[in-house]
Symmetry: C2
Subunit: 722 residues, 2 copies
Amino acid sequence: MRSRGITVLIIWLLGSLMPASGDDGYRLWLKYDKISDRAYLRECGKALKSVMVTGDSPVLRAAHEELVAGLAGMTDRDISDVQTLTRGGVVVAGTFESSPLIASLLSDVDPGTTGKEGFIIRSVLRKGKRVTVIASDGEKGVLYGVFHLLRLVSMGAPVNDLSVLEKPAVALRLLNHWDNLDRSVERGYAGSSIWNWHLLPDYISPLYKDYARANASIGINGAVITNVNADALVLTAQYLRKVAALADIMRPYGIKVYLTARFSAPTEIGGLPTSDPLDPAVTRWWSDKAAEIYSVIPDFGGFLVKANSEGQPGPQNYGRTHADGANMLADAVAPFGGVVMWRAFVYDNNVPSDRAKQACNEFIPLDGLFRSNVLVQVKNGPIDFQPREPFHPLFGSMPSTSQMIEFQITQEYLGCATHLVFLAPLFEECLRSDTYARGQGSTVADVIDGSLFGQSLTGMAGVANIGSERNWTGHLFGQANWYAFGRLAWQPGISSATIADEWIRMTISHDSRVVEGISNMMLSSRETAVNYMTPLGLHHIMARGHHWGPGPWVDGGRADWTSVYYHRADTAGIGFDRTVTGSNAVSQYFHPLSEIYNDPATCPENLLLWFHHLPWDYRMSSGRTLWDELCNRYDSGVRQAERYSAYWKTLEGRIDDEQYRHVMQLLNIQVKEAHWWRDACLAYFRTFSRKPFPAGIEEPENTLDYYRGLKFYYVPGIKERE
Amino acid sequence: MRSRGITVLIIWLLGSLMPASGDDGYRLWLKYDKISDRAYLRECGKALKSVMVTGDSPVLRAAHEELVAGLAGMTDRDISDVQTLTRGGVVVAGTFESSPLIASLLSDVDPGTTGKEGFIIRSVLRKGKRVTVIASDGEKGVLYGVFHLLRLVSMGAPVNDLSVLEKPAVALRLLNHWDNLDRSVERGYAGSSIWNWHLLPDYISPLYKDYARANASIGINGAVITNVNADALVLTAQYLRKVAALADIMRPYGIKVYLTARFSAPTEIGGLPTSDPLDPAVTRWWSDKAAEIYSVIPDFGGFLVKANSEGQPGPQNYGRTHADGANMLADAVAPFGGVVMWRAFVYDNNVPSDRAKQACNEFIPLDGLFRSNVLVQVKNGPIDFQPREPFHPLFGSMPSTSQMIEFQITQEYLGCATHLVFLAPLFEECLRSDTYARGQGSTVADVIDGSLFGQSLTGMAGVANIGSERNWTGHLFGQANWYAFGRLAWQPGISSATIADEWIRMTISHDSRVVEGISNMMLSSRETAVNYMTPLGLHHIMARGHHWGPGPWVDGGRADWTSVYYHRADTAGIGFDRTVTGSNAVSQYFHPLSEIYNDPATCPENLLLWFHHLPWDYRMSSGRTLWDELCNRYDSGVRQAERYSAYWKTLEGRIDDEQYRHVMQLLNIQVKEAHWWRDACLAYFRTFSRKPFPAGIEEPENTLDYYRGLKFYYVPGIKERE
């Protein structure tokens, strides 16, 4: 009776307010629920029954707390601390340096093997007792090792014969928060910013620590906490106290805080008549500001800068170059070990003939001119986080410059927070793209991890999808994108399938059939979205402003902010001619890629209309005409979305109730919006192709005028009403 | 060992993501945790072991679900449904009409005794078996009865000899949400609006149902879900679908949805050239709009209107009266049973000599001119939700008009979401005030409940403090104010002490010493805030715009939006002369109150400077001069806030950890800000009094210039940056 009562109580406590409620998503992939497989529970209970964390520091205390909490939760036992190795089943964790015991348990390991952030996890027999060692050259490595072990247990991996060596491939693994000081989040779809500036530094929300834990668990070691469209206010003493409070919370989890630097800050908050980067008073202002920042945040990471782009001020306002601007800031933070990340996402006030070419035009001439603590931060593609783009031609084109990549985790162009689109395949596709910069086998990943050009200052940034919604990301599957970014920043070679498998098991279910079904859905979901939004290389045809729904008809105003600029549909055909006889953007890619892209016969079909304007009856590899293929792709995207919804329905009762209901509602929205995308785009493009729909493709539900006339207000992620 | 492990697990499960975390506040006062007192657990387990809800409808299903969940949680047992009364320990719930069984169990009760919303709970012996009956004339009464029984159990009340008859004193018990369609909340301090307009109607957040449950549990039966500063957009078909989805969720909990009506909607969204309420096209537009609304929300409650106030459009724009405007809308909704709530919070474009007088001047002449389905909604005091105001002189002055009262639950002028200020004493003080409208004993409550003038259309509105913060209200103790409003709207005679006792036991602790300590803090907290902010009848001396901190120096711009207009401090003295020789606002009160207020010797000291401009050396009842008394009041407020913080520290380990930490941080902020209020106000008023501080009062920590120079940005609750 008592034990039944306790079971009831446990079930009750697991819930939130509602009688039949379940998992609200707050715990992310760090659920630490009791292991359900009995044999595995016994195995872990025996192998991982006590811990010994050698050394003492904030980072090691965080590692210790996490290890105990995680093991206690999953093995359903008290986890004791031991001081000596008299029994087996102990997890020993610490740095080589601080612990002679660890050095002796792993006597074959040379110093420097793991580096400060890497780690070894190994099952070791000592005097007949089995212990599990987590060791690193640095305490952050110990913390990452702890999270890795907990992940192995969460995944149900064998724990008796462990031999793991992991090291991050990239030095700076950062989230970029486009969070404003008023708590709005640009392109954020998960509620307001988690940073409660008004209450900082006096009120420390429990969210902050849990945010830091989640990031540490996937190896993220930095957070740019303010929007690239920057507000100088955050650099004032009043706000730096608030930033410092956040840095204090994140420090034990190995996370450095970075800020965006408003280039005109010397004028706006410093009272200087100019912000010219070559003006000595400006240089001094930034040096003083850096010193002030480091006096309250000794491990401050540095600045991220968006300059001379979309209205942001920058060095060009004073006739200076991006390098002048970046180097001035780099000099300010260099004495303290800080870095400057300078975004290559720029465009001119003059509309270029092809915006895709602009970053190369502006930045390649600057190669070699940047300070050693500057990274040029380049978006994955040359336009702007589209469902599919070719990789950015800057990658590989600046061999003497540290280049970091910027992915967008938040789904600005991918259905906001209501579409299930697993982004690992998008990230992976880009990272594995061959730039041919040093001949075949020069992948984007090789550029990013520094191996191609021998750089040690390397980085990967992801624009966060995090907000104050209870489940952090709005859509449960948004968590998978945050997770995937961290995993790939740690190890760009890891596959999307592996990431999906890990995330599903930790977040939703261990049932292998469920895992397989959800994994299939996730792994195909990006292609599905490409199909119902922008198949065959189409891009930038979404509604103006909020970027949420379709808007292929968008015209007027600045040309490269319209859709017609990009799709160029006319009665002759569709697509942007970027060949040598067109904008010649193909020439920004290395041989032989430039030739491959230049020829529609060799250009990958999924990028065809990115590089080519082709007639409506152009013959595709399927044997269909371009028009028919376009129709089929749009339709297949819709059908696939419908399949997701139908599949999810079969999960009722097999997964957590609240997760089920939450995702079911969102998948139904996705189906509806996939229809909307298909119908609106095909109704529009038909006015140019003047051809009938191929057999099996339904007429759009409404007229083109209907779709063009739809108005939405207060769409999240932007500040405009409409 | 095993049971210890389970204990650890339970502690773990009680938490959220963090190892040592606890109650995040989401469950509000509906926690339904297992009863900790063993004897009481046995008693309830025996008396309340199964349920029988007769009849079937959405409301009764909601009642059933709640009853089962609540009893299962608290008694830690499965609660079974029974169809017949063969055993004892059954809770039988239903309406008299639908259930012959209930009618027979309560055969002495006449039809109509409870009304549709009231209920009887009675322990009955039937064939030797004890059953608990919850019965009502209406299904909403059954729902309220269920929540009442669950509250009794949550409180630890005996359940074997119940005999309860409860009926609401007021018909419309409404929350007013000042929530905008962009999810900002005017004067909201608990994050963004819980209404996710973008995702409605397709995504139904679990929050909505829990919001409805919480309201139903305290008898709230309506929600105006949009800001009084209204956006006509919500009246479009696109948004009405969203509103209808919310109404569908709230209906089973007895809650009607209301909207604010933008008076210029016929022009803004209807394409009409005018919104003149006497124009036939305008009248027709509103009638058609009402019909459209009721076609999707059959039980739509009606409109709340803020017109010709603070820039809102209204009938006066067309030379019409408030009555013309209200009646036009009232005629539109009357065929469907809707009401119009017309706010009396108005002020002229011309600055009045005394803003406190304006509502009476404008509305008393209209008494008797409003349709029978119009309520005039009057704020509790004549200015604007100050820490203390006299009751509004309109109460009792419009005998032929239904008047409802508007309280502010959100703490616009009371420290936003960081000050612990229990508002029940403020509400109670107002409700118990004697208007003398029909001689002694004509309290505000008697006006509001309709008894004084025989009205049946009665109402009480509270401006909600609810947002998407996990604990709904930002400050845990903000929940108590939501709770208190509901309880007082149900029964204006209930005491603050009773409400505090209920809330603490359901939310924090059953430990009687803890309950007593927290109750003492709560019950004195409003007076504490009055003392450190606006003692002795001072009012409206807060900072401009955000209303958060002190700003007695605010001057310039519209006079009645400044502080100096209200405190009138000069070297001669301080206070607003509203006597017969001053603005004569006293004359708006009935005899003998007008005379009592008119004479400083009889005027209550806590309203002294509201009604009188008095010299700095005016002798107070304490024997101190006015200046010394003012200093002492400010200082005592600070001291009291410090005592709260010190007391709360003693609760560490005696209450939930997360609740402890959350409130501890906020109380420390409150202490800091109490100092700020005292120091800034005294430093400022000293420039007029030119007197030293009395013994024991510390010098302000900073100079007056420092306080005047403080700037804050992005303060919650307003849209301006500063």
